[in-house]
Assembly symmetry: C2
Homo-oligomer: 301 residues x 2
Protein backbone atom coordinates (compact mmCIF):
# COMPACT_ATOMS: atom_id res chain seq x y z
CA UNK A 1 0.00 0.00 0.00
CA UNK A 2 1.26 3.45 -0.80
CA UNK A 3 -0.25 6.77 0.19
CA UNK A 4 0.44 9.93 -1.84
CA UNK A 5 -0.31 13.21 -0.10
CA UNK A 6 -1.49 15.74 -2.70
CA UNK A 7 -2.52 18.40 -0.21
CA UNK A 8 -2.82 18.63 3.55
CA UNK A 9 -3.58 22.19 4.61
CA UNK A 10 -6.81 23.65 5.92
CA UNK A 11 -8.92 26.00 3.87
CA UNK A 12 -7.15 29.34 3.24
CA UNK A 13 -5.03 29.24 0.11
CA UNK A 14 -1.26 28.91 0.20
CA UNK A 15 1.14 29.33 -2.66
CA UNK A 16 3.01 26.09 -2.21
CA UNK A 17 0.53 23.69 -0.65
CA UNK A 18 -2.92 22.40 -1.49
CA UNK A 19 -6.06 21.78 0.50
CA UNK A 20 -6.86 18.16 1.35
CA UNK A 21 -6.41 15.37 -1.16
CA UNK A 22 -4.73 11.96 -1.06
CA UNK A 23 -4.32 9.01 -3.37
CA UNK A 24 -4.16 5.50 -1.90
CA UNK A 25 -2.49 2.86 -4.05
CA UNK A 26 -3.91 -0.42 -2.75
CA UNK A 27 -3.99 -3.77 -4.59
CA UNK A 28 -3.82 -2.10 -8.00
CA UNK A 29 -6.56 0.40 -7.17
CA UNK A 30 -5.90 4.13 -7.04
CA UNK A 31 -8.49 5.53 -4.64
CA UNK A 32 -8.75 9.32 -4.51
CA UNK A 33 -9.63 10.58 -1.03
CA UNK A 34 -11.03 14.12 -0.91
CA UNK A 35 -10.44 16.55 -3.72
CA UNK A 36 -9.71 20.14 -2.71
CA UNK A 37 -9.22 22.86 -5.31
CA UNK A 38 -6.09 22.21 -7.36
CA UNK A 39 -6.16 18.41 -7.00
CA UNK A 40 -6.06 17.74 -10.74
CA UNK A 41 -2.94 19.85 -11.12
CA UNK A 42 -1.36 18.04 -8.14
CA UNK A 43 -2.19 14.68 -9.75
CA UNK A 44 -0.41 15.79 -12.88
CA UNK A 45 2.52 17.24 -10.94
CA UNK A 46 3.05 13.99 -9.08
CA UNK A 47 2.63 11.98 -12.29
CA UNK A 48 -0.32 9.94 -11.03
CA UNK A 49 -2.27 8.40 -13.88
CA UNK A 50 -5.72 10.04 -13.95
CA UNK A 51 -7.18 7.12 -15.87
CA UNK A 52 -6.47 4.64 -13.07
CA UNK A 53 -8.79 6.48 -10.66
CA UNK A 54 -12.21 4.82 -10.66
CA UNK A 55 -13.43 5.58 -7.14
CA UNK A 56 -13.38 8.93 -5.36
CA UNK A 57 -14.26 9.21 -1.66
CA UNK A 58 -15.34 12.62 -0.39
CA UNK A 59 -15.45 13.05 3.40
CA UNK A 60 -17.68 16.14 3.58
CA UNK A 61 -18.90 19.07 1.54
CA UNK A 62 -16.68 21.87 2.79
CA UNK A 63 -14.92 23.50 -0.13
CA UNK A 64 -11.38 22.60 0.90
CA UNK A 65 -12.33 18.91 0.55
CA UNK A 66 -14.27 18.91 -2.73
CA UNK A 67 -14.02 22.12 -4.78
CA UNK A 68 -11.50 20.36 -7.02
CA UNK A 69 -14.01 17.66 -7.94
CA UNK A 70 -16.01 19.49 -10.66
CA UNK A 71 -12.80 20.29 -12.55
CA UNK A 72 -11.54 16.73 -12.28
CA UNK A 73 -14.87 15.33 -13.53
CA UNK A 74 -14.70 17.77 -16.49
CA UNK A 75 -11.09 16.87 -17.22
CA UNK A 76 -11.88 13.14 -17.36
CA UNK A 77 -14.38 14.04 -20.11
CA UNK A 78 -11.78 16.10 -22.01
CA UNK A 79 -9.31 13.24 -21.76
CA UNK A 80 -11.83 10.95 -23.46
CA UNK A 81 -12.65 8.75 -20.47
CA UNK A 82 -15.14 5.97 -21.19
CA UNK A 83 -14.98 3.96 -17.95
CA UNK A 84 -17.39 4.45 -15.06
CA UNK A 85 -16.37 6.92 -12.36
CA UNK A 86 -17.78 6.25 -8.88
CA UNK A 87 -18.12 9.12 -6.44
CA UNK A 88 -18.84 8.28 -2.81
CA UNK A 89 -19.82 11.26 -0.67
CA UNK A 90 -22.48 12.94 1.45
CA UNK A 91 -25.99 13.43 0.15
CA UNK A 92 -26.02 16.63 -1.88
CA UNK A 93 -22.88 15.89 -3.88
CA UNK A 94 -24.84 14.53 -6.83
CA UNK A 95 -27.06 17.61 -7.08
CA UNK A 96 -24.04 19.94 -6.87
CA UNK A 97 -21.89 18.23 -9.49
CA UNK A 98 -24.88 17.65 -11.76
CA UNK A 99 -25.88 21.32 -11.62
CA UNK A 100 -22.32 22.47 -12.46
CA UNK A 101 -22.23 20.17 -15.47
CA UNK A 102 -25.74 21.23 -16.53
CA UNK A 103 -25.10 24.99 -16.52
CA UNK A 104 -21.95 24.44 -18.57
CA UNK A 105 -23.81 22.08 -20.92
CA UNK A 106 -20.87 19.77 -20.21
CA UNK A 107 -22.39 16.36 -19.54
CA UNK A 108 -19.90 13.55 -19.28
CA UNK A 109 -20.12 10.83 -21.89
CA UNK A 110 -18.65 8.34 -19.42
CA UNK A 111 -20.97 6.98 -16.69
CA UNK A 112 -20.76 9.11 -13.56
CA UNK A 113 -22.14 7.11 -10.66
CA UNK A 114 -22.87 8.70 -7.31
CA UNK A 115 -23.10 6.76 -4.07
CA UNK A 116 -24.59 9.21 -1.59
CA UNK A 117 -24.05 8.66 2.11
CA UNK A 118 -26.54 9.48 4.84
CA UNK A 119 -25.87 6.84 7.50
CA UNK A 120 -24.57 7.84 10.91
CA UNK A 121 -23.26 4.29 11.38
CA UNK A 122 -20.21 2.74 9.73
CA UNK A 123 -21.34 1.21 6.43
CA UNK A 124 -19.60 -0.74 3.65
CA UNK A 125 -18.81 1.43 0.62
CA UNK A 126 -16.82 -0.79 -1.71
CA UNK A 127 -15.72 -4.41 -1.81
CA UNK A 128 -14.00 -6.75 -4.19
CA UNK A 129 -11.93 -9.90 -3.65
CA UNK A 130 -8.89 -7.95 -2.46
CA UNK A 131 -10.04 -4.81 -0.63
CA UNK A 132 -12.93 -3.36 1.26
CA UNK A 133 -13.76 0.22 2.15
CA UNK A 134 -16.06 1.23 5.00
CA UNK A 135 -17.16 4.59 6.32
CA UNK A 136 -16.07 6.02 9.68
CA UNK A 137 -18.72 8.47 10.98
CA UNK A 138 -16.96 11.61 12.24
CA UNK A 139 -18.04 14.56 14.36
CA UNK A 140 -17.71 17.82 12.40
CA UNK A 141 -19.85 20.90 11.77
CA UNK A 142 -21.55 19.17 8.84
CA UNK A 143 -22.18 15.50 8.01
CA UNK A 144 -18.74 13.90 7.61
CA UNK A 145 -17.28 10.44 7.16
CA UNK A 146 -13.76 9.13 7.35
CA UNK A 147 -12.83 6.00 5.43
CA UNK A 148 -11.23 2.71 6.40
CA UNK A 149 -9.40 0.94 3.60
CA UNK A 150 -8.59 -2.71 4.36
CA UNK A 151 -6.83 -5.39 2.40
CA UNK A 152 -8.65 -8.71 2.62
CA UNK A 153 -6.75 -11.67 4.08
CA UNK A 154 -4.71 -13.28 1.34
CA UNK A 155 -4.43 -17.00 0.58
CA UNK A 156 -1.72 -18.81 2.56
CA UNK A 157 1.74 -18.93 0.94
CA UNK A 158 2.74 -22.28 -0.52
CA UNK A 159 5.74 -24.04 1.06
CA UNK A 160 7.29 -24.90 -2.27
CA UNK A 161 9.89 -27.29 -0.77
CA UNK A 162 7.18 -29.31 1.01
CA UNK A 163 4.78 -29.68 -1.92
CA UNK A 164 7.71 -30.71 -4.14
CA UNK A 165 8.92 -33.23 -1.63
CA UNK A 166 5.52 -34.95 -1.55
CA UNK A 167 5.09 -34.65 -5.32
CA UNK A 168 1.70 -32.97 -4.93
CA UNK A 169 -0.02 -32.23 -8.22
CA UNK A 170 -0.24 -28.51 -9.07
CA UNK A 171 -3.99 -28.85 -9.46
CA UNK A 172 -4.26 -29.03 -5.65
CA UNK A 173 -2.18 -25.88 -4.93
CA UNK A 174 -5.18 -23.55 -4.98
CA UNK A 175 -7.13 -25.43 -2.32
CA UNK A 176 -4.01 -25.97 -0.18
CA UNK A 177 -3.40 -22.18 -0.27
CA UNK A 178 -6.96 -21.76 0.98
CA UNK A 179 -5.98 -23.77 4.12
CA UNK A 180 -7.05 -27.31 3.30
CA UNK A 181 -5.05 -30.36 4.47
CA UNK A 182 -3.89 -32.95 1.90
CA UNK A 183 -4.04 -36.76 1.97
CA UNK A 184 -1.25 -38.67 0.21
CA UNK A 185 -2.01 -41.79 -1.86
CA UNK A 186 -0.66 -43.92 1.00
CA UNK A 187 -3.37 -42.43 3.22
CA UNK A 188 -1.07 -40.22 5.27
CA UNK A 189 -2.68 -36.88 6.16
CA UNK A 190 -0.45 -33.81 5.71
CA UNK A 191 -1.69 -30.91 7.81
CA UNK A 192 -1.96 -27.58 6.02
CA UNK A 193 0.65 -26.14 8.42
CA UNK A 194 3.23 -28.53 6.87
CA UNK A 195 2.45 -27.27 3.35
CA UNK A 196 2.00 -23.49 3.76
CA UNK A 197 3.25 -20.41 5.53
CA UNK A 198 1.18 -17.61 7.04
CA UNK A 199 0.44 -14.95 4.40
CA UNK A 200 1.48 -11.36 4.99
CA UNK A 201 -0.94 -9.75 7.45
CA UNK A 202 -3.58 -7.65 5.62
CA UNK A 203 -2.89 -3.95 5.93
CA UNK A 204 -5.32 -1.16 6.68
CA UNK A 205 -5.41 2.61 6.34
CA UNK A 206 -7.82 4.82 8.29
CA UNK A 207 -8.52 8.36 7.06
CA UNK A 208 -10.19 10.64 9.61
CA UNK A 209 -10.73 14.25 8.53
CA UNK A 210 -12.33 16.61 9.50
CA UNK A 211 -13.38 15.78 13.04
CA UNK A 212 -13.56 16.90 16.63
CA UNK A 213 -11.94 14.58 19.18
CA UNK A 214 -14.28 11.58 19.03
CA UNK A 215 -13.33 8.39 20.91
CA UNK A 216 -16.32 6.57 19.40
CA UNK A 217 -14.23 5.97 16.26
CA UNK A 218 -11.63 3.94 18.19
CA UNK A 219 -13.25 0.48 17.74
CA UNK A 220 -13.56 1.12 13.99
CA UNK A 221 -9.89 1.95 13.41
CA UNK A 222 -8.34 -0.48 15.92
CA UNK A 223 -4.85 -1.71 14.96
CA UNK A 224 -4.79 0.19 11.67
CA UNK A 225 -1.32 0.19 10.10
CA UNK A 226 -1.62 3.87 9.38
CA UNK A 227 -4.07 6.42 10.78
CA UNK A 228 -4.40 9.82 9.16
CA UNK A 229 -6.05 12.04 11.74
CA UNK A 230 -6.62 15.73 11.29
CA UNK A 231 -4.78 18.10 13.64
CA UNK A 232 -5.96 21.54 12.63
CA UNK A 233 -4.81 23.09 15.90
CA UNK A 234 -2.36 22.79 18.79
CA UNK A 235 -3.50 22.55 22.42
CA UNK A 236 -2.95 26.31 22.80
CA UNK A 237 -6.02 26.68 20.52
CA UNK A 238 -8.03 23.85 22.17
CA UNK A 239 -11.02 26.13 22.69
CA UNK A 240 -11.07 27.05 18.99
CA UNK A 241 -10.78 23.35 18.10
CA UNK A 242 -13.85 22.62 20.25
CA UNK A 243 -15.80 25.49 18.71
CA UNK A 244 -15.00 24.61 15.09
CA UNK A 245 -15.19 20.82 15.65
CA UNK A 246 -11.57 20.19 14.77
CA UNK A 247 -8.86 18.34 16.73
CA UNK A 248 -5.56 19.25 18.30
CA UNK A 249 -2.38 17.26 17.70
CA UNK A 250 -2.61 15.88 21.23
CA UNK A 251 -6.17 14.71 20.69
CA UNK A 252 -5.21 12.98 17.44
CA UNK A 253 -2.37 11.24 19.29
CA UNK A 254 -4.76 10.11 22.02
CA UNK A 255 -7.01 8.48 19.43
CA UNK A 256 -3.94 6.79 17.87
CA UNK A 257 -2.79 5.48 21.24
CA UNK A 258 -6.20 4.15 22.30
CA UNK A 259 -6.76 2.53 18.89
CA UNK A 260 -3.29 0.93 19.09
CA UNK A 261 -2.49 1.89 15.50
CA UNK A 262 1.03 1.39 14.16
CA UNK A 263 1.63 4.90 12.87
CA UNK A 264 -0.12 8.25 13.06
CA UNK A 265 -0.05 10.72 10.19
CA UNK A 266 -1.10 14.27 11.06
CA UNK A 267 -2.47 16.83 8.61
CA UNK A 268 -5.04 19.57 7.88
CA UNK A 269 -2.82 22.07 9.66
CA UNK A 270 -4.23 25.56 10.09
CA UNK A 271 -2.26 28.12 8.12
CA UNK A 272 -1.84 30.14 11.32
CA UNK A 273 1.13 27.94 12.31
CA UNK A 274 4.39 28.62 10.54
CA UNK A 275 6.14 25.43 11.64
CA UNK A 276 4.41 22.05 11.42
CA UNK A 277 7.14 20.47 13.60
CA UNK A 278 5.18 21.77 16.60
CA UNK A 279 2.38 19.31 15.75
CA UNK A 280 4.83 16.40 15.83
CA UNK A 281 6.26 17.52 19.16
CA UNK A 282 2.84 17.90 20.78
CA UNK A 283 1.60 14.50 19.52
CA UNK A 284 4.75 12.56 20.45
CA UNK A 285 4.21 13.22 24.14
CA UNK A 286 1.20 10.88 23.87
CA UNK A 287 2.07 8.62 20.92
CA UNK A 288 5.63 8.26 19.61
CA UNK A 289 5.23 7.07 16.02
CA UNK A 290 4.12 10.28 14.33
CA UNK A 291 4.49 11.45 10.74
CA UNK A 292 3.58 14.86 9.35
CA UNK A 293 1.69 15.14 6.09
CA UNK A 294 3.35 17.28 3.45
CA UNK A 295 2.39 17.92 -0.16
CA UNK A 296 4.08 15.37 -2.40
CA UNK A 297 4.97 13.00 0.45
CA UNK A 298 4.70 9.26 -0.26
CA UNK A 299 4.29 6.70 2.51
CA UNK A 300 4.81 2.99 1.84
CA UNK A 301 3.34 0.54 4.30
CA UNK B 1 -4.35 50.59 -16.46
CA UNK B 2 -2.54 47.39 -15.73
CA UNK B 3 -3.55 43.86 -16.66
CA UNK B 4 -2.28 40.88 -14.67
CA UNK B 5 -2.58 37.49 -16.38
CA UNK B 6 -3.24 34.83 -13.72
CA UNK B 7 -3.95 32.04 -16.17
CA UNK B 8 -4.37 31.74 -19.93
CA UNK B 9 -4.62 28.11 -20.96
CA UNK B 10 -7.64 26.14 -22.13
CA UNK B 11 -9.27 23.50 -20.01
CA UNK B 12 -6.96 20.50 -19.46
CA UNK B 13 -4.75 20.96 -16.40
CA UNK B 14 -1.08 21.85 -16.68
CA UNK B 15 1.49 21.82 -13.94
CA UNK B 16 2.78 25.32 -14.44
CA UNK B 17 -0.11 27.29 -15.87
CA UNK B 18 -3.66 28.02 -14.87
CA UNK B 19 -6.94 28.14 -16.74
CA UNK B 20 -8.32 31.58 -17.55
CA UNK B 21 -8.23 34.42 -15.05
CA UNK B 22 -7.10 38.04 -15.22
CA UNK B 23 -7.06 41.05 -12.92
CA UNK B 24 -7.52 44.51 -14.39
CA UNK B 25 -6.19 47.39 -12.32
CA UNK B 26 -8.16 50.43 -13.55
CA UNK B 27 -8.69 53.72 -11.71
CA UNK B 28 -8.13 52.13 -8.31
CA UNK B 29 -10.45 49.22 -9.02
CA UNK B 30 -9.23 45.64 -9.18
CA UNK B 31 -11.67 43.83 -11.47
CA UNK B 32 -11.33 40.05 -11.60
CA UNK B 33 -12.16 38.65 -15.04
CA UNK B 34 -12.98 34.94 -15.11
CA UNK B 35 -11.91 32.64 -12.32
CA UNK B 36 -10.67 29.20 -13.36
CA UNK B 37 -9.64 26.60 -10.78
CA UNK B 38 -6.55 27.75 -8.88
CA UNK B 39 -7.24 31.48 -9.24
CA UNK B 40 -7.09 32.16 -5.50
CA UNK B 41 -3.65 30.58 -5.27
CA UNK B 42 -2.52 32.59 -8.30
CA UNK B 43 -3.79 35.81 -6.65
CA UNK B 44 -1.71 34.99 -3.60
CA UNK B 45 1.32 34.02 -5.67
CA UNK B 46 1.24 37.31 -7.56
CA UNK B 47 0.66 39.25 -4.31
CA UNK B 48 -2.63 40.77 -5.44
CA UNK B 49 -4.67 42.00 -2.52
CA UNK B 50 -7.82 39.85 -2.29
CA UNK B 51 -9.63 42.50 -0.30
CA UNK B 52 -9.44 45.04 -3.13
CA UNK B 53 -11.53 42.85 -5.44
CA UNK B 54 -15.18 43.96 -5.28
CA UNK B 55 -16.42 43.02 -8.75
CA UNK B 56 -15.93 39.71 -10.55
CA UNK B 57 -16.91 39.29 -14.20
CA UNK B 58 -17.50 35.73 -15.45
CA UNK B 59 -17.71 35.28 -19.22
CA UNK B 60 -19.42 31.88 -19.32
CA UNK B 61 -20.09 28.80 -17.24
CA UNK B 62 -17.50 26.38 -18.59
CA UNK B 63 -15.39 25.05 -15.74
CA UNK B 64 -12.07 26.49 -16.92
CA UNK B 65 -13.58 29.98 -16.52
CA UNK B 66 -15.35 29.70 -13.16
CA UNK B 67 -14.51 26.57 -11.12
CA UNK B 68 -12.19 28.72 -8.99
CA UNK B 69 -15.05 31.00 -7.95
CA UNK B 70 -16.62 28.88 -5.15
CA UNK B 71 -13.25 28.60 -3.41
CA UNK B 72 -12.58 32.32 -3.72
CA UNK B 73 -16.03 33.18 -2.32
CA UNK B 74 -15.36 30.82 0.63
CA UNK B 75 -11.89 32.26 1.20
CA UNK B 76 -13.25 35.83 1.38
CA UNK B 77 -15.46 34.55 4.23
CA UNK B 78 -12.49 32.93 6.02
CA UNK B 79 -10.51 36.15 5.66
CA UNK B 80 -13.29 38.05 7.47
CA UNK B 81 -14.58 40.05 4.54
CA UNK B 82 -17.43 42.42 5.38
CA UNK B 83 -17.72 44.41 2.13
CA UNK B 84 -20.15 43.53 -0.66
CA UNK B 85 -18.87 41.25 -3.42
CA UNK B 86 -20.53 41.68 -6.82
CA UNK B 87 -20.53 38.78 -9.25
CA UNK B 88 -21.53 39.48 -12.85
CA UNK B 89 -22.12 36.39 -14.97
CA UNK B 90 -24.57 34.30 -16.97
CA UNK B 91 -27.91 33.27 -15.51
CA UNK B 92 -27.35 30.10 -13.49
CA UNK B 93 -24.26 31.35 -11.64
CA UNK B 94 -26.29 32.38 -8.59
CA UNK B 95 -28.00 28.99 -8.25
CA UNK B 96 -24.66 27.17 -8.61
CA UNK B 97 -22.68 29.20 -6.07
CA UNK B 98 -25.62 29.32 -3.67
CA UNK B 99 -26.04 25.53 -3.78
CA UNK B 100 -22.33 24.96 -3.10
CA UNK B 101 -22.46 27.26 -0.08
CA UNK B 102 -25.69 25.66 1.14
CA UNK B 103 -24.48 22.05 1.07
CA UNK B 104 -21.37 23.09 2.99
CA UNK B 105 -23.46 25.13 5.43
CA UNK B 106 -20.96 27.88 4.59
CA UNK B 107 -23.01 31.00 4.00
CA UNK B 108 -21.01 34.17 3.64
CA UNK B 109 -21.54 36.84 6.27
CA UNK B 110 -20.59 39.52 3.74
CA UNK B 111 -23.21 40.48 1.11
CA UNK B 112 -22.80 38.39 -2.03
CA UNK B 113 -24.61 40.16 -4.86
CA UNK B 114 -25.23 38.44 -8.17
CA UNK B 115 -25.89 40.32 -11.41
CA UNK B 116 -27.11 37.66 -13.81
CA UNK B 117 -26.81 38.28 -17.54
CA UNK B 118 -29.26 37.07 -20.17
CA UNK B 119 -29.14 39.77 -22.85
CA UNK B 120 -27.85 38.97 -26.32
CA UNK B 121 -27.13 42.67 -26.84
CA UNK B 122 -24.29 44.70 -25.34
CA UNK B 123 -25.51 46.04 -21.97
CA UNK B 124 -23.96 48.26 -19.25
CA UNK B 125 -22.73 46.25 -16.26
CA UNK B 126 -21.00 48.77 -14.03
CA UNK B 127 -20.47 52.50 -13.98
CA UNK B 128 -19.04 55.12 -11.65
CA UNK B 129 -17.52 58.55 -12.30
CA UNK B 130 -14.26 57.09 -13.63
CA UNK B 131 -14.99 53.80 -15.40
CA UNK B 132 -17.70 51.90 -17.16
CA UNK B 133 -17.99 48.24 -18.03
CA UNK B 134 -20.23 46.86 -20.76
CA UNK B 135 -20.84 43.36 -22.06
CA UNK B 136 -19.70 42.10 -25.45
CA UNK B 137 -21.97 39.27 -26.65
CA UNK B 138 -19.81 36.43 -27.98
CA UNK B 139 -20.50 33.34 -30.07
CA UNK B 140 -19.58 30.18 -28.13
CA UNK B 141 -21.17 26.80 -27.42
CA UNK B 142 -22.99 28.26 -24.41
CA UNK B 143 -24.16 31.78 -23.54
CA UNK B 144 -20.99 33.90 -23.29
CA UNK B 145 -20.07 37.56 -22.89
CA UNK B 146 -16.82 39.39 -23.24
CA UNK B 147 -16.31 42.63 -21.35
CA UNK B 148 -15.29 46.14 -22.38
CA UNK B 149 -13.62 48.20 -19.65
CA UNK B 150 -13.43 51.91 -20.44
CA UNK B 151 -12.04 54.87 -18.58
CA UNK B 152 -14.36 57.85 -18.71
CA UNK B 153 -13.03 61.06 -20.27
CA UNK B 154 -11.16 63.02 -17.64
CA UNK B 155 -11.42 66.75 -16.93
CA UNK B 156 -9.11 68.92 -19.06
CA UNK B 157 -5.64 69.57 -17.58
CA UNK B 158 -5.10 73.08 -16.21
CA UNK B 159 -2.47 75.22 -17.95
CA UNK B 160 -0.91 76.37 -14.69
CA UNK B 161 1.24 79.07 -16.32
CA UNK B 162 -1.83 80.64 -18.00
CA UNK B 163 -4.14 80.68 -14.97
CA UNK B 164 -1.30 82.19 -12.89
CA UNK B 165 -0.57 84.83 -15.49
CA UNK B 166 -4.21 86.01 -15.46
CA UNK B 167 -4.46 85.72 -11.64
CA UNK B 168 -7.57 83.53 -11.88
CA UNK B 169 -9.04 82.62 -8.51
CA UNK B 170 -8.66 78.93 -7.62
CA UNK B 171 -12.40 78.69 -7.07
CA UNK B 172 -12.83 78.75 -10.88
CA UNK B 173 -10.34 75.97 -11.63
CA UNK B 174 -12.95 73.19 -11.43
CA UNK B 175 -15.25 74.73 -14.04
CA UNK B 176 -12.34 75.69 -16.28
CA UNK B 177 -11.16 72.06 -16.20
CA UNK B 178 -14.68 71.09 -17.29
CA UNK B 179 -14.12 73.13 -20.48
CA UNK B 180 -15.69 76.51 -19.68
CA UNK B 181 -14.24 79.79 -20.97
CA UNK B 182 -13.38 82.57 -18.47
CA UNK B 183 -14.09 86.32 -18.61
CA UNK B 184 -11.53 88.64 -16.98
CA UNK B 185 -12.68 91.65 -14.92
CA UNK B 186 -11.78 93.90 -17.86
CA UNK B 187 -14.32 92.01 -19.97
CA UNK B 188 -11.82 90.09 -22.06
CA UNK B 189 -12.93 86.55 -22.86
CA UNK B 190 -10.26 83.83 -22.44
CA UNK B 191 -11.12 80.77 -24.45
CA UNK B 192 -10.81 77.47 -22.60
CA UNK B 193 -8.11 76.42 -25.08
CA UNK B 194 -5.87 79.19 -23.68
CA UNK B 195 -6.28 77.87 -20.11
CA UNK B 196 -6.18 74.09 -20.47
CA UNK B 197 -4.54 71.20 -22.26
CA UNK B 198 -6.24 68.10 -23.65
CA UNK B 199 -6.46 65.43 -20.94
CA UNK B 200 -4.89 62.02 -21.54
CA UNK B 201 -7.14 60.03 -23.88
CA UNK B 202 -9.33 57.59 -21.94
CA UNK B 203 -8.08 54.03 -22.27
CA UNK B 204 -10.05 50.90 -22.91
CA UNK B 205 -9.55 47.16 -22.58
CA UNK B 206 -11.66 44.58 -24.43
CA UNK B 207 -11.75 40.99 -23.18
CA UNK B 208 -13.15 38.45 -25.65
CA UNK B 209 -13.07 34.81 -24.55
CA UNK B 210 -14.34 32.21 -25.45
CA UNK B 211 -15.65 32.87 -28.95
CA UNK B 212 -15.81 31.71 -32.52
CA UNK B 213 -14.68 34.25 -35.15
CA UNK B 214 -17.44 36.84 -34.89
CA UNK B 215 -17.09 40.13 -36.82
CA UNK B 216 -20.27 41.47 -35.16
CA UNK B 217 -18.16 42.42 -32.13
CA UNK B 218 -15.96 44.80 -34.15
CA UNK B 219 -18.09 47.96 -33.65
CA UNK B 220 -18.15 47.31 -29.87
CA UNK B 221 -14.37 47.07 -29.46
CA UNK B 222 -13.33 49.70 -32.02
CA UNK B 223 -10.04 51.46 -31.21
CA UNK B 224 -9.54 49.60 -27.92
CA UNK B 225 -6.06 50.16 -26.51
CA UNK B 226 -5.75 46.47 -25.78
CA UNK B 227 -7.82 43.57 -27.09
CA UNK B 228 -7.55 40.17 -25.45
CA UNK B 229 -8.95 37.70 -27.95
CA UNK B 230 -8.90 33.97 -27.50
CA UNK B 231 -6.82 31.92 -29.93
CA UNK B 232 -7.40 28.34 -28.88
CA UNK B 233 -6.17 26.97 -32.20
CA UNK B 234 -3.92 27.63 -35.18
CA UNK B 235 -5.25 27.67 -38.76
CA UNK B 236 -4.14 24.04 -39.16
CA UNK B 237 -7.01 23.20 -36.77
CA UNK B 238 -9.49 25.69 -38.33
CA UNK B 239 -12.12 22.97 -38.73
CA UNK B 240 -11.87 22.07 -35.04
CA UNK B 241 -12.11 25.78 -34.15
CA UNK B 242 -15.34 26.00 -36.16
CA UNK B 243 -16.76 22.88 -34.56
CA UNK B 244 -15.95 23.88 -30.96
CA UNK B 245 -16.75 27.59 -31.49
CA UNK B 246 -13.24 28.79 -30.76
CA UNK B 247 -10.93 31.02 -32.83
CA UNK B 248 -7.61 30.63 -34.56
CA UNK B 249 -4.74 33.10 -34.08
CA UNK B 250 -5.35 34.40 -37.60
CA UNK B 251 -9.03 35.01 -36.91
CA UNK B 252 -8.20 36.88 -33.69
CA UNK B 253 -5.76 39.03 -35.65
CA UNK B 254 -8.40 39.76 -38.29
CA UNK B 255 -10.77 41.03 -35.59
CA UNK B 256 -7.94 43.18 -34.16
CA UNK B 257 -7.16 44.64 -37.56
CA UNK B 258 -10.77 45.40 -38.49
CA UNK B 259 -11.43 46.95 -35.05
CA UNK B 260 -8.26 49.06 -35.39
CA UNK B 261 -7.17 48.26 -31.84
CA UNK B 262 -3.71 49.32 -30.67
CA UNK B 263 -2.52 45.94 -29.40
CA UNK B 264 -3.73 42.36 -29.53
CA UNK B 265 -3.16 39.95 -26.67
CA UNK B 266 -3.68 36.28 -27.50
CA UNK B 267 -4.51 33.53 -25.00
CA UNK B 268 -6.61 30.44 -24.17
CA UNK B 269 -4.10 28.31 -26.04
CA UNK B 270 -4.97 24.65 -26.43
CA UNK B 271 -2.54 22.44 -24.54
CA UNK B 272 -1.95 20.48 -27.78
CA UNK B 273 0.59 23.11 -28.87
CA UNK B 274 4.00 22.97 -27.25
CA UNK B 275 5.19 26.39 -28.42
CA UNK B 276 2.96 29.46 -28.11
CA UNK B 277 5.32 31.43 -30.41
CA UNK B 278 3.46 29.83 -33.34
CA UNK B 279 0.36 31.82 -32.35
CA UNK B 280 2.30 35.08 -32.54
CA UNK B 281 3.74 34.17 -35.92
CA UNK B 282 0.37 33.27 -37.40
CA UNK B 283 -1.33 36.42 -36.06
CA UNK B 284 1.43 38.84 -37.13
CA UNK B 285 0.84 38.09 -40.79
CA UNK B 286 -2.49 39.93 -40.39
CA UNK B 287 -1.85 42.30 -37.46
CA UNK B 288 1.65 43.22 -36.33
CA UNK B 289 1.24 44.35 -32.72
CA UNK B 290 0.71 41.00 -30.99
CA UNK B 291 1.41 39.94 -27.42
CA UNK B 292 1.10 36.43 -26.00
CA UNK B 293 -0.58 35.87 -22.65
CA UNK B 294 1.51 34.04 -20.09
CA UNK B 295 0.82 33.26 -16.43
CA UNK B 296 2.19 36.08 -14.27
CA UNK B 297 2.57 38.55 -17.16
CA UNK B 298 1.75 42.20 -16.43
CA UNK B 299 0.83 44.64 -19.16
CA UNK B 300 0.77 48.38 -18.53
CA UNK B 301 -1.15 50.56 -20.94
Amino acid sequence: MKLHILGCYAATPRTLSNPTSQVLDIKNHLFLIDCGEGTQVALRKHKIKFSRINHIFISHLHGDHFFGLPGLVATFQLLGREKELHIHGPKGIKEAITLLLKIGNSWTKYPLIFHELTSKESVPLYEDNKVEVTSIPLDHRIYTNGFLFQEKPQDRSLNVAAVSKYNIDKAYYAIIKQGKDYTLENGRLLSNAELTFDPPAPKSYAYCSDTAYDPSIIPLIKHADLLYHEATFLETEAELARKTKHSTAKEAATIAKEAKVSRLLLGHFSTRYKDSAMFEKEAQVVFPNVLLAQDGKEIDF
